[in-house]
Amino acid sequence: MSNSANSPSKAQIKARQKVTHTFMAVLLGLSADASLICNEVLAKAGKASQTRIDRPDAVPKVDSAMKNSREGIAHLLNRTTYGMRPGDIERVQALGVEQYLKEQLSPESIPLPSGVAQVAQVPALTETPLSLFLNYGKPALKALSQGGGKTPEEKKALGKVVRETYGKLYQDAATAHLTRAVDSPRQLQELMTDFWFNHFNVSSDKGLDHIWTGQYEESAIRPYALGRFRDLLGATAHHAAMLFYLDNWQNTSAAYRPVLNNPKAKSRFKGINENYARELMELHTLGVDGGYTQKDVQELARVLTGLGLQPGGGAGLAMRNVMQRRQAAGQLAQMQTNSNAMQPFSRRPRQRGIRNYGEAASASTIPGNPKTGSFFDMRRHDTGTKVVVGHTIQGSGEREIEEALDILARHPSTARHISYKLAQYFVADKPPDSLVQKMAATFTRTDGQIAEVLTTMFDSDEFWSNTNRNNKFKSPHRYVISSLRATDATIDNVLPLLAFLKQAGQPLYKCLTPDGYKNTKEAWLNPDSLINRLNFATALGANRLPGIRVSASQNGDVTDSLSTISEKTVSAIEQAQPQLRQSLVLGSPEFMMY
């Protein structure tokens, strides 16, 4: 994310004009006939009664030549990136489709530009859940705001600190997410991170997930996005963000009787909570028709009792006062806010409003898994025998959870459910059953190796079929990112992008429901949202979004690079003033699809 130069040199201008030329090709090289130039398109359009190029009955011959043709590469890029950038087709042509896919499937083989790597070096992504809680949790913020939030003045100061801190953590995570989505050469990893985040959704709008969501994506999703499904399942199951979002941190054996120092205090642990157990089967593994019963949900919930948050890391207990929290956290992270309300931590170590945390502890003695922020509390665990989808699990404590996750990850319903969702994401809203079956077979054969399942999909006739090209409607998220990629945009400020996503009903990291954002046309095509896109396209194309510069200019004959597009779109662009053309392309019906 560099600042654009104030006065471009001649060479830069020349380079830009070149980019402009390929710009339209990139924008519009979206459909099957990417190699055709505009005149041919127009001639063809004149003959055909229907100007859109649809050949649903054509069965392509899936061979290397077809895959490596311009239209083959354009299709592959549409599905394995957030949208083509200028020069992408040529790069893949030079590399060959097979090598390109091989690289994308092992992302660490692709070097990251320093800007892309750097953007992830922020506390929101690098600190552990425990340390995030200690440094940015409500009690710490109360101390920072110099008050317990009791008087109106204290409340105001606290509110300011809370807003700024959470705003900063969210914005840092969002900046990293959007920068990588736009600029990372590891595009398939970015898409798969998005896919799995929604599959294992958490919402940063829910309480403590304010501070954990970015870290969750970074540590529980991204590293495993192309790895083994079981690893992903385990990482999400143990992460504080998921434990909090689906309430498992409270899930407690019905027999548990808390020992409370204060007889008036109420325990947060009031027995069984099935929420995570239910979604673990319905959404994360087996699928809603995956062959489990309400009894299975109850049994799985019993297995999961006691799996919660680290003491002092969100679950209360463990630390007596702010000083101890501070010692535990080590150095207080210096947050880069300009808040006047921010004060050195130690100034008022013991003011009202800081909770009494009982036993003293330091970071090294806080039990649990510091990487995930989880802690298995045997006292709250139901040690009886359980039966989950026909498997008997003997009461043994924490190991039961791994046993249950193994059973769920290897269940045939899971192979099918995951394969269906992947095929829907990459191929068609209603994916062909033949394809789902092939992918599920690979899932089972490889014990859930995601890259292998994707390889089966990329090798399939269904993936390359003409029916399945340009048939996907972009979600607002993909729409924004593809616009920025197509225009080679420089982003210094993500706020306008976050505002658009919010308005479009897809605020980043804030899907309320555990099923995550959908990626189908049915979910996203509606009148309000389409008009919003046109407003966004107009603002972006005209360089009216603060902190975002698109690099392509409006010079040159715009129709030169129109490859496949309806006659209507061509003529609308031709009739428009030059300064509007780029916006029109970004708002065209063709640009809504991929």
């Binding site: 979604e279 308005q503 429901t513 389409l530 008009i531 309806s566 009739q575 019906p589």
Partner: protein
């Protein structure tokens, strides 16, 4: 040719050339062609943050009330900033004076001790449940208002569902499209309101005969309708609090739209700021300021609806109630039961509905909160069943996990 004529022509041209169903909207865009007669309407107002119901309808005749609320109780009628008497036992918050006439003309009622049966005290989860209409089931992807729309006769109007705000809320999420607009004093122009830009996009989208064209045309039509109807409502802020003025905009604008655009079936809006843990206030203060805004907005809405008020039910609800006892910060904490408000010409008002057991320790939920004696889905089911004429099978679709037979609210609407 103005924008509206242009759209009509475009729509008709499309209809004659391509897709049969498109001509339905072409027909509906002419108001004279309406033959379905006036339809009944529902407005839902969601108060986010959990409003303190006991400060809205105050049990002033119960001495317990003044015992447990030393600092935040509202004085009995006749005192300065005291409640406005409703029935000799309960009184309305003085800041809600603008809606007192509606009580007197018997078109305002409250369902006491109602709400969601789910015990959660998390705003996030409770709002989610109340909007999805499926308490306890997290993975319900559609909102109940959207499922309701799917059961109403489809009049093919792009403004059949209005949402006042900037994003589509959970309650309206689902397959039926709604039109969103901001209730602002001065309507801001978007790029698409520019004639040149709009017609360029028009040229791209018209005549495609697909779902993209349909969405485009509906979106432009909704925008045109809303902009046109509200063009005379560029109200000046008449001094006072900015927020109050903004609220006035909501009441007047929504009322005018619903009065003049007979195709509107459902409208939704939400308001925040009711999470009064600290310094809630009594007859005046934080909550009173919010209630004043709300009261004026609702009263403006009722007035500007005109005759349409007779065919409208307005439901006001919140995710849960607040603790009966005040806390140590002169505020209240997250509770359980609350009161649902019902307004409109179709409401059999002027009386309180629901069950009331007082506020003794024994009658309270977990010894601290108002109980939920009437499920919010009962209230909504009885309203939409009668008022919008949904069959019991259709009600099952709107609230799938719920059988309204077990717990009906009778007499909320005029028979």
């Amino acid at each position: 040719m103005n924008r509206r004529d242009f759209l009509k022509t475009a729509g008709l041209a499309t209809a004659s050339l391509l897709v049969p169903q498109v001509n339905v909207w072409a027909k509906t865009s002419g108001s004279a062609a309406s033959n379905s007669g006036p339809t009944n309407k529902l407005v839902v107002v969601f108060l986010r943050g959990a409003i303190d119901g006991l400060s809205v309808v105050v049990p002033y005749s119960d001495p317990n009330y003044y015992k447990v609320r030393n600092n935040i109780a509202i004085p009995p009628p006749g005192n300065q900033l005291g409640v406005l008497d409703l029935d000799g036992h309960f009184g309305l918050h003085p800041a809600l004076e603008p809606i007192l006439p509606l009580w007197k003309n018997k078109s305002l009622s409250f369902v006491l001790n109602s709400g969601s049966p789910d015990p959660t005290r998390s705003h996030f989860d409770a709002q989610d449940y109340m909007e999805s209409g499926c308490p306890g089931r997290k993975a319900t992807s559609t909102g109940w208002l959207n499922r309701l729309l799917a059961q109403l006769p489809d009049n093919h109007s792009p403004v059949r569902a209005l949402n006042i705000g900037s994003t589509t809320p959970r309650i309206l999420q689902g397959p039926v499209a709604s039109a969103t607009f901001k209730a602002e004093l001065k309507r801001r122009r978007s790029p698409i309101d520019n004639e040149v830009i709009a017609s360029s996009f028009e040229r791209m989208y018209e005549g495609r005969g697909d779902s993209l064209e349909r969405a485009f045309q509906d979106g432009m039509e909704a925008r045109t309708t809303i902009n046109e109807k509200l063009s005379g409502e560029q109200m000046q802020a008449n001094g006072g609090a900015i927020q109050a003025a903004r609220f006035g905009a909501f009441g007047k604008q929504l009322g005018k739209l619903m009065r003049e655009e007979p195709k509107v079936q459902v409208a939704f809006l939400d308001l925040g700021g009711f999470d009064t843990h600290v310094n809630q206030g009594n007859g005046k203060g934080q909550l009173a300021n919010h209630l004043q805004v709300l009261g004026h907005g609702l009263s403006d809405l009722a007035e500007s609806l005109g005759d349409t008020y007779q065919r409208t039910v307005i439901l006001v609800m919140s995710e849960f109630g607040r603790t009966v006892k005040e806390n140590g910060n002169n505020g209240t904490d997250h509770g359980h039961g609350n009161f649902i408000w019902a307004l409109g010409g179709a409401v059999q008002g002027g009386k309180l509905m629901g069950h009331w057991d007082g506020i003794t320790d024994r009658s309270l939920y977990e010894g601290r909160d108002l109980p939920v004696r009437t499920d919010f889905r009962s209230v909504i089911s009885s309203v939409i069943g009668e008022h919008l004429q949904l069959s019991s099978r259709q009600l099952q679709t709107v609230f799938p996990d719920f059988s309204s037979n077990s717990d009906t609210v009778t007499g909320l609407l005029k028979g």
